[in-house]
Each structure stands twice: as structure tokens, then as C-alpha cells.
């Protein structure tokens, strides 16, 4: 892995805000994610999770505020950020008419791997990700679980310092989800920082720290224990439901 650009935290946002017309999608978000952390972003549909990730990946300019990822400003130093991050979108971003191997080779090359080094890295990566048996199958014909695993493979072949996963396990069976989380922990153990969004509470409980978003606002932040204590609920799921009720009540 390339040496970290700076020593500090991997993601820092200061008053990050995004407005679509009259809709506030993200409201003055202050977040810090530390190196090697598995950080969960929770919130109901439309709470601004994807928008936050898109701003951090440089896909969307913030309306206000600023953010640094791996030590670089996401707006002014977008090029530097891009080579050091991986992004797995809600839609996976795979080419259906390319095979699993071709997809990985394509993204690896775009990320700057070439020749022998790339081919060796891909072999190693395919073995680690357990993609060997499907390497020559067209991505479009893979089942949901395999697609998800391939998408993760494409986002990590270049060994990014920071990995953004937007609902990576939506619509995937429990066994595939368990394997997926094993891969995430393996990546984190090697120093990759991970930001993951999810609607599954069991997955939320696997994160080291969590942030709750509701209508674009950060309404809860901390470890699983801190959050359950803070809201006086037995589990994360109870917290989630209680928050959503409160939120709906406030806007009813």
C-alpha cells in the first residue's frame, strides 16, 4: 500500500452541506473517521447517506463546508483523492458485457496498475476474494452475491487507503453477507479505512463507530454501546426505530 499522505484522520468534514433546490440533503455535517476504522453511516431512506458519500468521493461539489479525504481536499485536490480511494456504489458499476476478470482488469488498469505487476496483483486479489471459479463468467449473468463480491474486488484491486461502500449488501443472502463482512474486516486489518452505509442492524453492530443521519442531520455518533446508552434503548435497531418515530412525529 502507498504510504499514507498524512498522519491525521482519513476523513474530516467541516460543516459539509448539500442543497438541491429547496431540499437540504445534508445539513452541516461534522465528521471525523480515523485510519483503519470501520465506520457505519445509518439513516432511513433519503436521509443523505449517498449524498454524503458522493461529496466525499468528489462526484458532487458541496454547497457549503469542506472535507478532506486521505489528507486532500475533495474539491481542490480531487485528482489526488481519486487515486487513493475505492468506491462501491449502490448500483455496483460493473460492465455486464465484460467477464468478471475483464471488469477487474479494466478498473485495475484505470487505477494505474500495468503489465506484470497488474497481472500478478489480480491473481492474488482474485484468490483472496474467492472469485476464481467465476472469473470468466460475464458480470451480467452473475447472481447478486457474486456481483457484490466482484464489485468489491473492482473497488479494491488498487489497494485504496479509503473505501466507500454504499449499501453494499442490499439484496444479498445472509451467507454472502457474512463472507462480505469477513472481507471488510480483512481489509480493515490491513489499514484500509472503511465507510459503509447499511439498512441491516446486525451489520450496523459490526461497525466500530456509527453515525445516524436523519433528514440530512447528524443526530447520533459513537460506538454501538455509546449510542444505545445515549438513547436509552437495548439495541441499535430500537434506537433506529425510535429515532425514525421521533422524526416522523416532528414532521407530522
Amino acid at each position: 500500500m502507498t504510504a499514507p499522505a498524512t498522519q491525521g484522520p482519513t476523513v474530516v468534514t467541516e460543516g459539509l452541506r448539500k442543497v438541491f433546490g429547496s431540499l437540504v440533503a445534508v445539513e452541516r455535517l461534522d465528521l471525523t473517521i480515523n485510519r483503519g476504522e470501520v465506520f457505519g453511516l445509518l439513516g432511513p431512506n433519503g436521509s443523505g447517506k449517498t449524498t454524503t458519500i458522493r461529496m466525499l468521493c468528489g462526484l458532487m461539489a458541496p454547497t457549503e463546508g469542506r472535507a478532506t479525504v486521505v489528507g486532500f481536499d475533495v474539491e481542490r485536490e480531487a485528482e489526488r483523492v481519486r487515486t487513493r480511494i475505492g468506491y462501491m456504489s449502490q448500483r455496483y458499476g460493473l460492465y455486464d458485457d465484460l467477464t468478471a476478470y475483464e471488469n477487474m482488469r479494466f478498473y485495475a488498469t484505470v487505477y494505474g496498475l500495468h503489465g506484470r505487476a497488474r497481472d500478478e496483483r489480480l491473481e492474488q486479489h482474485i484468490a483472496e476474494m474467492g472469485l476464481g471459479e467465476r472469473r470468466n463468467q460475464l458480470a451480467g449473468t452473475l447472481s447478486g452475491g457474486w456481483k457484490q463480491r466482484l464489485a468489491l474486488g473492482c473497488a479494491t484491486a488498487h489497494e485504496p487507503e479509503m473505501l466507500f461502500l454504499d449499501e453494499p449488501t442490499a439484496g444479498v443472502d445472509p451467507a454472502a453477507r457474512r463472507d462480505f463482512w469477513a472481507s471488510i474486516y480483512a481489509l480493515a486489518a490491513r489499514g484500509t479505512t472503511i465507510l459503509v452505509t447499511t439498512h441491516y442492524m446486525d451489520e450496523a453492530e459490526r461497525c466500530q463507530r456509527l453515525a445516524f443521519l436523519s433528514r440530512g442531520k447528524l443526530i447520533g455518533l459513537g460506538t454501538v454501546d455509546e449510542i444505545t446508552t445515549q438513547f436509552g434503548q437495548p439495541t441499535i435497531e430500537d434506537v433506529f426505530i425510535a429515532l425514525q418515530r421521533k422524526d416522523e412525529g416532528a414532521h407530522a
Binding site: 468521493c57 468528489g58 462526484l59 461539489a61 485528482e79 481519486r82 487515486t83 480511494i85 468506491y87 456504489s89 449502490q90 448500483r91 455496483y92 458499476g93 460493473l94 460492465y95 455486464d96 458485457d97 465484460l98 475483464e102 482488469r105 479494466f106 478498473y107 488498469t109 484505470v110 487505477y111 494505474g112 500495468h114
Partner: protein, 380 residues
């Protein structure tokens, strides 16, 4: 000179290459696109080359000769020799002639009245009648002018014989550039232009829109691939495809229709570049407007229509109403057709092609700049 190796390295490791590689795999695997690329040139060429004959000749013609004189037979011979009419038999009466026209077995019927021979011999104006199936205006036009020319020719002969004089005037029309007046010769260069338009707008636009639809464009933007590599990787494959199509049509045009390339072939390929850039601009523009592949396809066909009708591909622009001519001026194909026909049929050199070339270059720069701007905005 330390710049040279760095440049070579930059080129070798450019992110344009994986893009190009991926694009060619996709083109190869996409049956619809591949079909359009391979079958379309052949189909267009054969369709327009064989089926659509804009020159109307050999109209089956029945003859009702009630005069039955050497005079009347001479008239029939003159008319049939023109090539416009072909004998389709003699009929006994007008009703039979009408029936042949109704049934479509004949497009024209020549009726020579009984007194024809007498009138001519007496030096009076003789009247003959030509019945024409005018349902198709093109056929009718050809038949009418063919009949008039034939009659004039015969009239001149009669006068000359009567006063035993040499023909006072002999107008010899020598058709240049397309001596046999075959429509294939006129159409084949056009097919190249139309094909390139389809490939470079329709196929390019749908290929870009597909990336947006499937979410891979978003994925690409997150990678370090630059906007230029992204765009070039997306466009260059279709430029290559376009040139291949052009070569195929040129070859087939020669093999099947003996369509010549009188002018300079390298110049033809060179002057195709501004046309390609202009068309890619249109394709890119469509991709920024269309929200789905279906929309991209509709918009592309919408763009094809004026190209086919107003560029001079099928109908001469001179004979169009003024507003239609103005619309034609905004189409890259209008200028490219002049270049194509000039180079292929007339052997025109660059000295005489600078006008259409200049217009095309202006149009290309304009279209491409606008669309690249828009494209950059949509991926931000």
C-alpha cells in the same frame, strides 16, 4: 531531451488505453451494435444501389396503333429507342390499353389514331396520345418528358425529310462524371455519409447513455481517469469503426456498382475527419440530453431524418424550398456530400473543395465544443 521518454511513458500508461480496450470488447459482444456496424453498410448499399433507382427508365408501354402506316411505325421506333419506354405489346383497342394501365402491367400507353399517317403525309399537325400512370410522380415525370422529347425528335426528322434538308441543329448532350446516368453512382458516396452519420451519432450516443444508465459512468468518474481519456476512449473506437465502414462501402461500391474513385483517396480519408468530429459532436450532444438509451435512439433518428431528406442525399437541394435549403446548411452531411461526390465522381481537387471543407470545419468545431462543454457539465 528528457521530455521525450516522459511523453512516451505518459502515452503508454495513459488511462485512455484500458478505456479503448474495454470499448472494443463491448462492441464485439453487443450483437445489436455489431449488427448495425456490419450489416448496415451492406444493407444500405444494396438497398439504395439496387432498389431505389431514382432514374426512371424502361417503362413498360403498350401500343395501340390504329394508323398502321410506316409513319406510325417510325414514331413508335423513335419513342422506344429513347430508353424511357419499353414495348409491352400491341393492343387492339382503348379499353384494353386502359386495363393494362389499371392492372399495372403497363405504365404508359401510346395511342396513334387512324388518321395519323394521312395527316402527316398531308403536312398537317397530327395528334397522338400518350396515357400515363401518374400515380407515382417520378414515373409520370419521366414518361411525360420522354414522350415530349420523342415527339420533338420525330417532328424534326419529318420536317427534315419533307424539305430534304440536313438537320439544322444537332444538340448533343454529353453527361459528365456519371456518363451512364446510373443512380448507384450518385447514391453510393451518399451512403458513406449517411452510414457515418448513423454510426457516429446513434451508436456513440447510446454507448455513452448506457454507461450513465447502468451506473458505470459514475463509477468511472470516481476513478483517476481524466475527462479527456474518458471521452477519447469512448469516441475513438467509433471513429475507427466509421473508417472501416467507409472502406467497406467504397470497396463494395466498386465491386457491385463500379462506382469509381476518380479523385485522391488519401484526401477523401483526410477530409472525412472534420465530418467525423462534427458527427461525434452531435452524438455527444444527444448523450447529454437523452435520459435513456431509448431516448437517445429516438433523438438520433430524429436527427437522421433531415439528414436523409435535406442534405442532398436523395433529392437535389437546388429544387427545395428556401427554408428547407437553410436547414440543410446546418447539417454536416450537406457539406460532406459535396466533398464525397466531388472527390469520388469528379476527381475534384482540394482547390475546389475548400468551401465545403471550410464550412464543415467551422461546423465541427462549433458542435464539438458545445457538446464537450455540456458533457463535462453532466459528469460533474
Amino acid at each position: 531531451m528528457s521530455d521525450t521518454p516522459r511523453f512516451v511513458d505518459r502515452l503508454r500508461y495513459s488511462r485512455f488505453w484500458p478505456m479503448l480496450w474495454k470499448e472494443f470488447i463491448q462492441i464485439r459482444r453487443d450483437r445489436l451494435t455489431l449488427g448495425m456496424i456490419l450489416v448496415l453498410p451492406a444493407a444500405q448499399l444494396l438497398l439504395f444501389g439496387y432498389a431505389i433507382q431514382t432514374d426512371v427508365r424502361h417503362l413498360p408501354t403498350v401500343v395501340l396503333d390504329e394508323s398502321r402506316t410506316s409513319e406510325s411505325r417510325a414514331l413508335v421506333t423513335t419513342l422506344m429507342n429513347s430508353g424511357v419506354f419499353d414495348p409491352a405489346g400491341e393492343v387492339a383497342d382503348r379499353a384494353t390499353a386502359r386495363r393494362a394501365l389499371d392492372a399495372g402491367t403497363a405504365n404508359a400507353a401510346l395511342v396513334i389514331p387512324p388518321e395519323y399517317g394521312r395527316e402527316v403525309a398531308a403536312g398537317r399537325t397530327a395528334t397522338v396520345q400518350m396515357l400515363v400512370d401518374a400515380a407515382d410522380p417520378q414515373t409520370a415525370g419521366a414518361a411525360i418528358s420522354g414522350a415530349q422529347l420523342g415527339a420533338q425528335a420525330r417532328a424534326t426528322q419529318i420536317i427534315a425529310e419533307r424539305v430534304s434538308l440536313a438537320n439544322p441543329l444537332d444538340m448533343r448532350v454529353r453527361p459528365l462524371y456519371n456518363p451512364a446516368q446510373r443512380s448507384a453512382v450518385f447514391i453510393v458516396p451518399g451512403v458513406i455519409g449517411v452510414l457515418l452519420t448513423i454510426t457516429l451519432t446513434l451508436i456513440t450516443a447510446t454507448a455513452i447513455v448506457r454507461e450513465r444508465e447502468r451506473g458505470t459512468l459514475e463509477q468511472l468518474i470516481v476513478t483517476p481517469i481524466g475527462k479527456t481519456s474518458l471521452m477519447l476512449g469512448k469516441l475513438v473506437p467509433f471513429v475507427i469503426v466509421g473508417y472501416v465502414q467507409m472502406t467497406v462501402v467504397l470497396t463494395m461500391g466498386w465491386v457491385f456498382f463500379r462506382v469509381p474513385i476518380v479523385g485522391s483517396l488519401p484526401l477523401l480519408y483526410l477530409l472525412t475527419i472534420p465530418f467525423i468530429i462534427a458527427s461525434l459532436g452531435v452524438g455527444l450532444l444527444i448523450s447529454t440530453v437523452a435520459r435513456s438509451q431509448a431516448q437517445a435512439m429516438q433523438l438520433s433518428f430524429f436527427f437522421m431524418l433531415p439528414n436523409i431528406l435535406l442534405s442532398g442525399y436523395l433529392f437535389p437541394r437546388m429544387s427545395m424550398p428556401l427554408p428547407a435549403q437553410f436547414v440543410g446548411l446546418a447539417l454536416p452531411l450537406t457539406y460532406y456530400l459535396k466533398i464525397l461526390r466531388g472527390l469520388m465522381l469528379k476527381g475534384t481537387g482540394f482547390a475546389d473543395l475548400w468551401r465545403p471543407t471550410g464550412s464543415l470545419v467551422v461546423l465541427a468545431v462549433l458542435l464539438f465544443t458545445i457538446s464537450v462543454r455540456r458533457f463535462h457539465k453532466t459528469i460533474e
